[in-house]
Symmetry: C3
Subunit: 136 residues, 3 copies
């Protein structure tokens, strides 16, 4: 069985701040530092979607990258691009938009729409020097 991983990169820009509503402003500042400043800041988020499976005998594709790209646009990019994650999205109304949590949410948005025979992994770059993988 020849399992291959295919990767597709997409991106979105969004504002956020790290902030836990149950905590005081002082507690937020002490834990999250500049990332908690009240007027938000932004990132150029890069998403790397990894899909693992056997290439189809006829097409040679694990999954059509055009279809994967369209799916990510529809389920993820159209939701988050140029939004304020804390204010404008249902997902992060109460959930702290750390890179870890954003990657988990992106996984959960895509997983139901990808063939169950394929494994899915998300890498999210918050900056070129800070990024996360889910699942690890």
């Amino acid at each position: 069985m020849k399992r291959v991983a295919v990767y597709r990169k997409e991106h979105f820009n969004a504002a956020h701040r790290l902030f836990r509503q149950q905590w005081s402003d002082e507690a937020n500042a002490a834990t999250f530092g500049k990332c908690s400043l009240p007027h938000y800041h932004g990132h150029n988020y890069e998403i790397e979607i990894k899909v693992v499976g056997e290439p189809d005998k006829e097409t040679g594709f694990v999954m059509d990258m055009k279809k994967l790209s369209d799916l990510v646009q529809e389920k993820v990019i159209s939701k988050f691009d140029h939004k304020n994650l804390n204010l404008d999205t249902e997902e992060f109304k109460t959930l702290n938009p750390t890179a870890e949590n954003i990657a988990i949410i992106i996984f959960e948005l895509l997983r139901p729409h990808i063939d169950p025979s394929l494994d899915l992994f998300i890498r999210l770059y918050e900056t070129p020097r800070n990024f996360v993988d889910y699942p690890a």
Copy 2:
């Protein structure tokens, strides 16, 4: 046992089109879209060769990167660089040159020439935003 992975990047440029000979032109166009246009298109392919093993006690090397680079030049780059994969190579005369299939072929070209105690993995970038790993 201290297993280390060492990586070496190499590159080649080649033309290809995605095309299944057993299908009609219409079927190819419907499945592969612009990637099937009849006059071919090209990519700057980047290959990342990963070799895993224990560093040699004396040299501190898992494998001499110069020897690995020379091997990749001889077995892979000299075959595919500046070629039309569909027309000019034995490997893709009938096999559709998807990134998945090219990565599998590169693995098979290199595997016999690398010490059996070492594991081998291939990553192939078709573009900076589309890439594959084999084995996954």
Copy 3:
């Protein structure tokens, strides 16, 4: 259990040469080539520190990246940055400073200072085309 990997990139510049003291100059030249030239050469080393664990329920962090970055500065960068690895560091007085060995040393410098519940992995780029992972 939702395990997430978080990555932080840091960098340092250093001189080194590949050289095994128990060998003659000729044997070193034959094995290490230009990497063994007597007057040293340098690299812009990039370190990618990967830490794997469950995000904290309150903060949404696997580990505070600011704390990780500070730790890497203190334990690794301050030791190696702008140094001659062969001449100026205890670690490589007798150990050959291959990328493999540098990655293992960085792992050993950091591991005692990271929560035992978290897994640690090091990637070291010697150049953009030559890099290693430890553990593999």
